[in-house]
Symmetry: C2
Subunit: 346 residues, 2 copies
């Protein structure tokens, strides 16, 4: 192999439209039209240009295009907490749906630095981004300001319900109803002392799920006494701690509805450490339907979050907001109760 000078290693600057134009013997404007497949052009030149572009390994420079069009074909996904195990799945479907619509996605994990999300709002406004997908309740204050000032920005919230009408479009499930369904199922199984392992008390989903629990108990004429409610976190270890503590001072419940699958995993581990059997000594149900829930010992009764539909619908909604200036609205998706052995006495 011949020796090369250092500069040769960096490939010659990649071709621009002007280069392709020269090769194909047309003007840059024609190249642009040909590649975009826009009408006033002969099939023959279109082919010739396509050929030249392909051979030269040409790709449009996205920044030049975005600058000109004032549209970037990029959606930003704001993720408060990537450790949330709903994400891989959600993100996968978001990516897929966005790709199918011709968008690329940028992601930003906002838990790190609260100022970070504000920067992206500025970018959105400055034209660097076409839209924002919020995968949580949290919305940068700057955004809310603009919106309440009457701006119609391309933003969609998913995974988390809307705290209260705030002018942001959403794709969500009825969290309270879903929680109700779980507890209703437990009650119908004959459980009477149905406890709730709640999530962080300020989290909107935790609040909604707790409300569903209360309502179902009340509808079944059951008691939601304070010894039946434990506030924990959403993590495995939060559940484990609760499992180790639960009922130490008072009577054990006979079933526990956990605010999410992860805390249920921990709870079950904690109960087992104490020698209790699930579901025979105590039934357990979760919420989310993470993939591990099906192979847990015992398999976990839970609510299936329609992650794929959430992802797709929110991308589509965002696209509509970007491209068609549609009105804001909230879409409620169906959830599904998955009954597995953790809640069925055998």
């Amino acid at each position: 192999m011949p020796k090369r000078k250092a500069e040769d290693n960096r490939l010659a600057r990649s071709p621009t439209m002007a280069d392709i134009a020269r090769i194909a013997g047309v003007s840059a404007a024609t190249v642009s039209r040909a590649l975009a497949g826009l009408p006033p052009i002969t099939e023959e030149t279109r082919l010739r240009v396509a050929q030249a572009a392909k051979e030269a390994g040409y790709a449009v420079n996205r920044h030049a295009r975005s600058l000109r069009l004032k549209r970037s074909k990029v959606m930003l996904v704001l993720i408060p907490n990537l450790a949330n195990p709903n994400f891989p799945d959600l993100l996968m479907h978001i990516d897929r749906a966005a790709y199918d619509c011709g968008y690329d996605i940028m992601i930003a994990h906002t838990a790190i630095d609260p100022h970070r999300s504000d920067r992206y709002v500025d970018e959105l406004l400055a034209g660097g981004l076409d839209g924002v997908l919020l995968t949580a309740n949290y919305c940068p204050p700057k955004l809310l300001e603009r919106i309440s000032a009457g701006a119609r920005l391309p933003i969609v919230r998913t995974l988390s319900p809307t705290p209260r009408p705030d002018g942001i479009s959403g794709v969500q499930i009825d969290e309270e109803k879903a929680a109700y369904d779980v507890v209703d199922h437990l009650a119908r199984q004959g459980y009477r002392r149905i406890a709730h392992l709640g999530g962080p008390p300020k989290e909107i989903v935790a609040i909604a799920r707790k409300r569903g629990w209360e309502k179902a108990l009340s509808d079944h004429g059951l008691d939601a006494g304070s010894d039946l409610y434990v506030s924990a976190g959403f993590l495995i270890n939060d559940g484990r701690r609760a499992g180790a503590e639960l009922g130490r001072s008072t009577a054990l419940p006979d079933a526990i509805f956990c605010s999410n699958d992860e805390s249920a995993y921990g709870l079950i581990a904690g109960l087992k450490e104490r020698g209790l059997r699930v579901p025979n000594d105590i039934a357990v149900a979760g919420f989310d339907d993470l993939s591990f829930s099906a192979v847990l010992d015992p398999p976990l009764t839970t609510v299936r979050l329609p992650r794929r539909e959430m992802a797709e619908k929110s991308v589509w909604k965002l696209r509509a907001l970007i491209e068609e200036d549609t009105p804001n609205d909230i879409t409620i998706l169906e959830h599904e109760l998955l009954i597995r052995s953790s809640s069925i006495r055998n």
Copy 2:
């Protein structure tokens, strides 16, 4: 609230440098320098400009900047399989490290469409992207072409080891050695018939892990008979199926090293379904250290993948490649054997 005309809803076009220049009573060039904090400028004007920018809610237009600088401050993360549960963690740290270096990340899930990755290679070359982080063995053929033609492109591979020297920088662990350590541990526990639930036979990590298993057996004078090797997939259900089948026709092994944690989860579930106890009837070990592995019943012996270090080091390496034209190289990180009860007879 006063009624607005439709147009008023779209906020007035967001400010550009020219606007800020006008407000601050300077030229656009000065604004640019002031905001960048570049030398020949008085502290006083710098402040005045900063003030004006802040009040106007100014943000630079990333596309205009990228076009001018021929540098976008965007790294693309190519993800072959987002369902891989190593990702949330890895991605979180990648995002964090990139943010700290002033980069944004775009993600592209390549499993969907094999042509997709080629598009990004063109974009990389066209200046739309600064660099690419491959989170798998797979590398777009177009990339390999360029590289073997002598191009030094800013690309880093992580999570997966390099198949063979291919000119791409990497951040990885010694997969074979790590597998060796697991099997060595099992052998030292006194297990003699140590089986391997291997991953897909063409996957590079599966090959390396299998090789580690063979080597450790051989070093301990143990047999790696064909009845001790089962090829499966990396998913829970693959393991479960294996667990249901294992030893049906021949004697059961007394320990099984699974090529990843997920298949180990399934395997354990499958064994339990057959009434076998882990580890007393059969010991199990995995590879990856997913967060659930610690709360599994029993907690799973496994290898900790240094996901955070992988993420950070690969981002740093990519940055160096982009900004400093450093040579390609491979970094091997330390792994750690996590011994938990699934491999310790009680």
